[in-house]
């Protein structure tokens, strides 16, 4: 089980990112728990200054804009 956090104040991109993570995880058959972090304080504490950001099991893997599909799969399989 991987814990994926999607950081973003709730703009459209952040929702798209969440959906992309869900899709990629389902495609790969990886069991994930997705948590959306929308509180600006928590986003900043995580070291994210351009949203959306993604962390997997506590490790930040992406910030700023939508992730690339193949990169996302790579992170989820790692």
């Amino acid at each position: 089980m991987k814990t994926v956090k999607v950081y973003g104040p709730g703009c459209k991109r952040c929702e798209t990112t969440e959906a992309m993570v869900k899709d990629a995880a389902a495609k790969l058959g990886v069991d994930v728990e997705i948590e959306k972090v929308t509180d600006p304080k928590s986003i900043a504490v995580a070291g994210v200054i351009s949203t959306p950001g993604i962390s997997i099991d506590g490790k930040l893997v992406h910030t700023g804009g939508l992730p690339k599909e193949d990169a996302l799969q790579k992170w989820l399989q790692a």
Partner: protein, 354 residues
């Protein structure tokens, strides 16, 4: 298969990809150029189809609208594409590292410059603000960055260039940049840290995550440009149409004498009025510039018009509401007052010398 054959295969695939994108880009640019050169015949043709006299008020307004909508959309797509590609070399993380590593006095103009080059959407301004301040970047430098971003945006400059002329675009660039730098510096001198929301002052943000494993080649960057065009043009076209409709009404119906009385250089109160009227108006540069084009065409003074445009773009209520999460009302008021002063000064200066 040996490792070498695989590598050669990769290189071949990459070459094909670059070739494909290069061709696509070239074809698109040529099509763009042809479309752009046909704007006047196209608008005259459409207007002639309608049952209105070309030189009537309605005819003038319709011709303006039909000419400007495709023109602005074409220009917008090109500007957004080029900007998207250029900005793919920049990121808020890199900008933060650069600004945190420089002396404060260099920081102001540098922040204004990076504000123009760094990609960030307004929905990110709160985490970005916190990230900057907690990395030890002075508050004033952070403000210079946040002011310059929207105020001197490439879309505004590009459209001014295409719709009004390079002289006005250049003046706008120089003064927008100066306002951002000076306003940031003034706020830096004021020692405003105590007016941040309490939790922001106490916060120590974590280090910026290392996400450098994301590698970009030139095709990825072109892809960013294309995505940006789809994203931004898809989002702002409605503002463009509204802006041009207002511009068309001004162009067709507002008498020049009235425009001179309200926005002419002799009416001293027109500059502050333009700034005040501009604050609650919220649109992006793409919507504002067709209005500017029409105002200038009808004889509005350049200073007044610039002040109006800067106020609409740089001072907006939604942005203040977003910033309320990190700034106290007092700090927001100071922010607005300092930026508005800069805009006023610009407006008065141009009305005085032109």
């Amino acid at each position: 298969m040996s490792a070498e054959t695989i590598a050669a295969g990769h290189r071949q695939k990459n070459r094909n990809r670059i070739l494909k994108w290069g061709t696509g880009l070239l074809v698109t640019l040529v099509a763009w150029g042809i479309a752009y050169s046909q704007l006047v015949p196209f608008s005259e043709w459409v207007t002639s189809l309608l049952p209105v006299a070309r030189d009537s008020h309605t005819g003038e307004a319709i011709a303006f609208f039909v000419y400007d909508v495709p023109k602005v959309l074409l220009l917008l797509a090109l500007i957004v594409f080029v900007t998207g590609v250029l900005r793919s070399w920049f990121s808020p993380e890199k900008t933060r590292a650069i600004l945190a590593g420089n002396r404060e006095i260099i920081g102001y103009p540098l922040a204004a410059l990076l504000g123009v080059l760094t990609p960030f959407c307004s929905c990110s301004s709160v985490p970005l603000f916190i990230g900057f301040v907690s990395a030890g970047i002075p508050l004033g430098v952070t403000f210079a960055f946040l002011i310059a971003g929207p105020l001197v945006g490439p879309v505004g400059l590009g459209l001014l260039f295409g719709l009004v002329g390079w002289q006005v675009a250049l003046i706008y660039l120089v003064f927008g940049f100066t306002i951002a730098t000076v306003a940031g510096w003034v706020m830096g001198r004021m020692g405003l840290e105590r007016y941040l929301q309490d939790w922001v002052r106490e916060l120590n943000a974590g280090p910026v995550g290392d996400v450098s494993d994301e590698t970009f080649d030139i095709v990825d960057r072109l892809q960013v440009g294309v995505d940006q065009v789809r994203d931004i043009v898809g989002k702002v076209w409605i503002w463009v149409v509204i802006g041009i409709a207002i511009g068309a009404l001004i162009h067709g119906y507002v008498p020049e004498a009235m425009m001179l009385r309200i926005m002419g250089g002799d009416a001293w109160w027109s500059v502050p009025a333009a700034v005040v009227v501009g604050i609650p108006m919220y649109t992006n540069a793409a919507g504002a510039i067709p209005v500017v084009e029409a105002l200038l065409g009808k004889g509005a003074a350049l200073g007044t018009t610039l002040a109006f445009m800067m106020s609409v773009i740089a001072l907006s209520l939604p942005e203040m509401i977003i910033l309320k999460q990190v700034l106290t009302y007092r700090l927001i008021a100071i922010f607005v007052a300092v930026v508005a002063s800069g805009i006023l000064a610009t407006g008065f200066l141009f009305n005085a010398i032109l």
